[in-house]
């Protein structure tokens, strides 16, 4: 056997997966509260929302793009869901569908500006993030919309076989994204574009169309995350999505997505998101002073990516 282990280690996900397992095992040993079904449910539910945004962001990053408006997009979609259901009295299913479609529409705006005017997505989305976030405040004046129908709350609070519903939805989205990226021509086109957009165009790949579709998909996933968060909270909070900007980018990088594009996958990015979620979780369980939490979680993220970089360098030398 030119051993299964070396094949496994050669997989680019190996480094981040090892880190994930190590942190999981350490956390279980350190805190008796970590590996309880209650805490696991909390962890999974928390991971679900930021995970959906991470899937979209990591796919854009593989293309070499970045959307900094995904967080406020999610927040605005949550608010829109509230407006549709409470203020306009729409049927909940219709309202949620419209809110997610609205997220896709916001993504479409970003995508059209990037592809038609050749704008730099990072800078553009700083601008559109300001607009979307501002629209949120104009609509809500900073006040949450209450009175969300209890019928939709199952989507945020319910379980399927003991697994939180949002987590199941996130896994389904991850499965679809992983399948598309690894098993379909469209996915291969994404990697090709992220590696070398000129060469992709020379091969007849419709580069702009792929980019546009991905902005729309990422927007819809952010909208979905926002809507599920409303179902979870039972109110449409204007602050939804505030923490969905940098964490998905950090998670993607930890999970092996290159900031320059062309490498990585949403699966690795979700592993990265899992690492960040566990770190934040254990800090709380450990009773670290809130003033210190930023320093501790930041330091662990730095350690995690350093470990990954070192292990990768070691492996590459081995296989050169």
């Amino acid at each position: 056997m030119q051993s299964n282990l070396s094949v496994l280690l050669r997989n680019p996900l190996a480094g981040v997966f090892v880190v994930l397992v190590v942190i999981f095992v350490l956390s279980s040993l350190i805190s008796p509260y970590f590996l309880t079904s209650y805490n696991m449910t909390v962890l999974a539910r928390g991971l679900a929302f930021v995970g959906l945004v991470t899937i979209g962001q990591s796919m854009l990053m593989v293309l070499g793009e970045l959307d900094l408006s995904l967080g406020v997009n999610g927040g605005l979609c949550g608010v829109m869901a509230g407006v549709f259901m409470v203020q306009l009295g729409f049927n909940p299913a219709l309202a949620l569908g419209l809110a997610i479609a609205f997220g896709a529409f916001l993504g479409l705006i970003n995508g059209l500006l990037v592809t038609m005017l050749r704008l730099h997505s990072l800078v553009l989305t700083i601008g559109t993030a300001g607009i979307f976030g501002g629209a949120n405040l104009v609509l809500t004046r900073g006040v949450a919309i209450t009175g969300i129908p209890t019928s939709v709350q199952f989507l945020g609070r319910g379980d399927v076989l003991g697994i939180p519903v949002p987590f199941v939805i996130m896994l389904a989205a991850l499965f679809i994204a992983g399948f598309v990226m690894l098993k379909t021509p469209f996915g291969r086109y994404m990697y090709a574009i992220g590696n070398n957009p000129q060469a992709a165009r020379m091969l007849g790949i419709k580069v702009d169309r792929v980019r546009l579709i991905l902005f729309v998909v990422a927007g819809a996933l952010a909208g979905l995350a926002g809507v599920l968060m409303v179902a979870r909270l039972g109110t449409a909070q204007p602050s939804i999505g505030d923490t969905w900007v940098l964490a998905p980018i950090a998670a993607s990088v930890i999970g092996g997505v290159a900031t320059t594009g062309g490498v990585g996958s949403p699966i690795g990015a979700i592993f990265g998101a899992g690492i960040i979620a566990m770190i934040e979780n254990i800090i709380v369980l450990f009773g670290v002073s809130p003033y210190w939490q930023g320093i501790v979680s930041g330091a662990i993220v730095v350690l995690a990516i350093s470990f990954d970089a070192i292990s990768r360098r070691y492996l590459r030398r081995d296989l050169a």
Binding site: F179, L182, K183, T184, P185, R188, Y189, Y191, A192, N195, N196, Q198, A199, A200, R201, M202, L203, G204, I205, K206, A258, G262, V263, D318, L319, A320
Partner: protein
């Protein structure tokens, strides 16, 4: 005692012996030709000479010192890579002295005026036609090439200068500028190691030579004592007739493609026919507009006027994806920018074009893709340690073969080769010529854009010459003198009547 001497040198990588038992003697005041096919071990040897890699066995002596013991010995060896590695958005002077540790502008603070003054003396010595304050992005390619060489020589301790294909992007006149610089180095009692696949240049500038093949030294001696055929035989290990021609041997048929009055950003009013059974050559200087014409037909660049018909039907312009879908492929001169996906594996790089073969009911089938790619690797003789290796780890020739194999797998109707043999060794060149010939004989429309007249003469049935965006002539290769072609390329006396 030679200034730089290597004995019994070997370098092993896991599973591969990259170099074995190599001897090399570099003497001051002489140009040493380092010859070998792509993948013969030249790059590994250069890395060891410059200290970027360490040998597994053997001895290196630079001026009698062992650089493995005393790394300061490496300082007398400078290397200029084939690719331009300049900072495009910085000035000529800044590029010259980066990282500012050896220029004499003095002090710890950046003294712009002293830097510019000092740069001026280098620019004059190397005949660089640019001002020290110009941005590198704005100076010509040949000036950039010379600037790279000048940068290496700002090192006062330098005695040996290694030039890796310094002329591959240059025209003949520009090559002479590089040669002047090389002769100046020799006069200053430096040694130059010259790596090139262009035989003409090797015999013009070379004093001594060493040939590597499959990681071993096969021959060395004085260039004056050998012929071009000897050198090629030493590199390839077999006899390759250099004057074989590869012009298709079938009767020329009707037109596959007709181009009428095509204009674009850097060319005007281009009209020609591509006929079945021929290879149509395009000759011209760098910047004559040949690539732009081809890229506009392909749809990558915008055409502002004119029309193209293929098999009598209107051909859609400005949309490369429709061109590909309709069976036209353009293989760019710029492999790095337009050809490969550097961070993806060889398998993924080839797989991107053959989804019809690899798609199963559950998406792309790994097994089918492996089989299809294995076949292409075998058919085109691509040398690789495995299809999972990143394509950027392959040699240039093997990357080019992968790109051609990928293109052929789509069974194109029209194939445009733009400088397909740039930086590629002679054996691979002949393989590419053979592929083009077979394609043309099978009825595929083949266009060859090349700056090498010998290459065009060997392959093309007909040659169209371009000068500053215009067609200046059309010639039947078999009945035209090289001088006539050169005249048309330089825009003097376009003799269309010579057909």
């Amino acid at each position: 005692m030679a200034y730089l001497e290597i004995r019994g040198l070997g370098r092993d990588f896991p599973g591969v012996v990259a170099l074995n038992d190599v001897d090399l003697k570099i003497e001051l005041g002489r140009t040493h030709i380092l010859a070998g096919e792509n993948g013969a071990g030249k790059s590994t040897l250069v890395k060891i000479l410059t200290g970027a890699d360490r040998p597994t066995r053997g001895e290196v002596r630079i001026d009698g010192r062992d650089p493995l013991v005393d790394p300061s010995a490496y300082r007398s060896v400078a290397y200029v890579p084939q690719e331009l590695t300049l900072f495009a958005q910085m000035t000529v002077a800044e590029n010259l002295f980066m990282p500012f540790d050896r220029s004499g502008h003095g002090g710890r603070l950046f003294n712009r005026r002293a830097l510019m003054r000092e740069a001026q003396t280098y620019l004059e010595r190397f005949g660089i036609e640019a001002r020290p304050s110009d941005l590198v992005a704005h100076i010509s390619v040949s000036d950039q090439q010379l600037l790279q060489i000048a940068r290496a020589s700002t090192n006062n301790e330098m005695k040996v200068l290694i030039l890796d294909e310094p002329t591959s992007a240059l025209t003949r006149i520009e090559v002479d500028r590089v040669f002047r610089v090389i002769r100046d180095f020799l006069d200053r009692d430096h040694a130059v190691v010259f790596i090139s696949h262009k035989m003409e240049e090797v015999f013009e500038i070379g004093d001594d030579y060493t040939v590597l093949r499959n990681g071993e030294k096969v021959e060395s001696g004085r260039v004056a004592d050998i012929t071009e055929a000897d050198l090629i035989r030493a590199m390839s290990g077999r006899h390759l007739a250099i004057d074989d021609h590869f012009r298709p041997g079938v009767p020329v048929g009707d037109a596959i493609m007709e181009v009428r009055g095509l204009s674009g950003a850097r060319f005007q009013d281009v009209s020609f026919d591509l006929r079945r059974g021929e290879i149509l050559g395009f000759a011209g200087l760098v910047g004559a507009g040949r690539s732009e014409v081809m890229q506009s037909i392909f749809g990558y660049l915008k055409a502002s006027a004119g029309r193209v018909t293929v098999d009598g039907k209107d051909w859609p312009l400005n949309d490369p994806s429709r061109s590909v879908a309709n069976g036209m492929l353009y293989l760019s001169e710029e492999r790095k920018h337009h050809g490969i996906f550097p961070m993806l594996s060889l398998r993924e790089n080839i797989g991107i074009s053959i989804f019809e073969l690899t798609q199963g009911p559950l998406g792309i089938s790994q097994r089918r893709e492996r089989e299809a790619v294995t076949k292409i690797i075998e058919d085109y003789g691509i040398k690789t340690a495995g299809m999972g290796k990143r394509i950027s780890n392959l040699s240039g020739g093997n990357q080019q073969k992968a790109i051609i194999g990928r293109a052929m797998a789509t069974r194109p109707r029209i194939l445009i080769f733009d400088e397909p043999t740039k930086g590629i060794d002679i054996r691979t060149k002949t393989e590419i010529y053979r592929i083009m010939k077979e394609l043309a004989e099978d009825g595929v429309g083949v266009i060859l854009v090349s700056s090498e007249i010998t290459e065009l003469r060997r392959c093309a049935s007909r040659i169209i010459t371009m000068h500053t965006g215009h067609i200046t002539g059309e010639f039947d290769t078999a009945t035209t003198e090289t001088e006539t072609l050169v005249g048309a390329i330089f825009g003097t006396e376009a003799r269309a009547d010579a057909i």
